[in-house]
Symmetry: C2
Subunit: 400 residues, 2 copies
């Protein structure tokens, strides 16, 4: 019989998707260049030309039986080794090939990470504001997602709320830094405090608590922000990485799980991912993409546009009187709405062809997300529109 | 805490993988060309050159933002449409784009298919002999796999055993024709009888029973065998297809789910796959591979070697006195072992560098599988070795 759980989910449309569909439709009416579509977190720069060159070379020169052949269940060995070496070089870690599991993007990596260290009924903590897909990601494993409310002053971790939510049933804690939707990067101080807190709770409860680190934005950190490598701050860390944003390859579904060698049962954990794959039909990212990415591991797309846009937009928003914590990375910003109900605020903005996402689904009411992964020229053109919108709908705001 | 279910699975090694690893190791000692490795079902012919050409053209000429961009959650629309059109043309079906869901190979397609039409505790019937991975595929959804024992006379469906296993808790039946491990293709008569039986049982129980059709070998059907398109025989059919074998792209993870338009809730079912993906971290096959495959949908690799090998090996085996049902497709053969315990039989064969897989994990004791996806030259060289093995270990067999 048809599974009613999944059928019911068809009713619950994602607000981000709805807004992005609206933007596309509106674009057909007035030209998409006139729609200031801040809805979707899609990279706005192409992959580096080195990726295309590597892939064409592989297709032309390598044996197609190898290039397109089954990859072993944990990923192609040489690729896993190359990733371990790259991480060791860049972050002074000591990964071996055995700690790396190739996964189809961060979503695939998280699907394995959660299942590795929780069983149905266990709790997983997430920090608001958080990526709304964490809901279905976690719930469908059978684990229970619990939200730690935000510290809206600086959007670092709210340790008081964390202390309140922590209990013996918590087997994993999920962090995402730099963060979608806020763009905030956790400081080394935040990470140290989190590591100490989890160590203390592990001892208190007498069981492991794993830190699952969702890192698709790891390479998008702006000047003046100190990058952190999460695994350095806590031994029981499982890093979930994606090349979607760093190489602008979101459709190619390529990423990995990197298990901290000091994790309890570190090599078992990576191997267990291969077992989890059997049940969820994962079976590794595309073999040719694994091979191509391994040739350009320390490269990224030209990500500078995101910092340019951040500066532009941050200055414009604060100038207009918005409260906003300055993002340290990603291509998101998370300003406070100019009225209590963020949905109404974003609804009003739509009339100006400003497509903003209300924050309720991110676990913090009264804010909105702007995904500024777009041409700088368009960000610039959006500033006077933002000004017109604020002046007309919220007169008096920002005037001293 | 570490999930003990998955950790325990690390102990249970796949016999196929173990034998294939042994073959590789033995190959390092005596040269792999001297190891008659019939263990693994890996395509032995390259992808068609049209695939490589299509991919290079896409990489050189198309916008990288489109080629490597996120695909919508059900797959790229134009690709889904092209697949529907191709299936309609070839099998006189009436699929629309809405019935197609792009999946990462047959494993990905099955992971979605099972979850669409069962919930934990429901039963799914499989027919022996069956692909051993069906065990973890099904068990990890929470459903229960029940095995319908084989009719070893012709390896078509054992309807008496089916009648015995059928009960109200069965919500889905899994077929795989042409079959791994037997190479047998179900006849139209078998499929008609199965369709009638399931229709009757649906009425009797008052609920739907879905037929899930695992079709990676659909294009590998030999002369004299009438190909069947499973969905033609039963409305509530969900086809799970992979290009792994037809285009020799097993590592690229590309396939699809095609829901029979006459299924109950047909369009919901395909859409539900997008919801299931959120929980298992699937998120579509690689975008560039979707685009490339869509350009060569009606092409296959040169699959003729498999029929040549089938003929050679079938004649040799029957000549040596083996009982074997002649395969109608795939690149597998499933002869009866020459002693009761297939594991001992295959162990003895190993001493002759003949790598054969005992049948116990396929749900039928006393047989063995040969995957004859290899160069014909090697199959030919294996024949005198088979003869030496049989004459030495089982003298008298095959003599009249």
């Amino acid at each position: 019989m048809i599974n009613e759980t999944y059928r019911t989910m068809l009713q619950g449309k994602s607000i981000i998707r709805e807004l992005s569909e609206y933007a596309a439709k509106r674009g057909q009416e007035i030209g998409y260049h006139n729609v200031f579509d801040y809805s979707l977190g899609n990279p706005s720069v192409p992959c580096p030309k080195e990726y295309t060159e590597a892939m064409i070379q592989i297709l032309k020169e390598e044996d197609p039986m190898t290039v397109h052949g089954y990859s072993p269940s944990l990923g192609i060995q040489s690729v896993r080794k190359a990733i371990a070496d790259s991480l060791n070089r860049r972050f002074s870690m000591d990964y071996e090939e055995e700690h790396i599991f190739m996964a189809s993007g961060a979503a695939g990596a998280l699907a394995h990470g959660f299942r590795c260290v929780t069983k149905p009924g266990d709790e997983i903590l997430v920090f608001a504001p958080y990526f709304p897909e964490y809901g279905p990601y976690i719930t469908q494993t059978g684990a229970v997602m619990k939200v730690v409310s935000a510290d809206t002053d600086d959007l670092q971790i709210n340790f008081k709320a964390l202390e309140e939510q922590m209990n013996e049933k918590v087997m994993a804690v999920l962090v995402n830094t730099p963060n979608n939707p806020s763009g905030i990067a956790y400081s080394p101080k935040t990470m140290e405090r989190l590591g100490d807190f989890l160590e203390m709770k592990q001892k208190q409860y007498g069981h492991d608590i794993f830190l699952i680190s969702d890192e698709p934005y790891r390479e998008i950190v702006f000047q003046g922000t100190e990058p952190v490598y999460v695994s350095k701050f806590y031994d029981n860390t499982i890093s979930c990485y994606s090349f979607s944003k760093s190489l602008s390859l979101p459709g190619e579904r390529i990423g990995y799980v990197a298990v901290n060698p000091r994790c309890r049962g570190a090599k078992d954990l990576a191997a267990m991912c291969g077992q989890i794959s059997r049940g969820i039909g994962h079976n590794c990212p595309p073999s040719s993409v694994q091979l191509a990415v391994a040739r350009i591991l320390d490269k990224t797309s030209d990500l500078s546009v995101y910092e340019t846009n951040r500066d532009l937009l941050y200055d414009a928003l604060t100038g207009l009187g918005f409260q906003v914590v300055k993002p340290g990375g990603t291509f998101y910003m998370f300003p406070k709405a100019l009225e209590e109900d963020a949905a109404i605020f974003c609804q009003k903005a739509k009339a100006y062809d400003l497509i903003l996402v209300p924050s309720d689904n991110f676990g913090v009411p009264g804010y909105f997300r702007m995904a500024y992964c777009m041409d700088t020229e368009k960000v610039k053109r959006s500033v006077p529109v933002l000004e017109r919108f604020v002046k007309a709908e919220y007169p008096g705001v920002g005037e001293r």
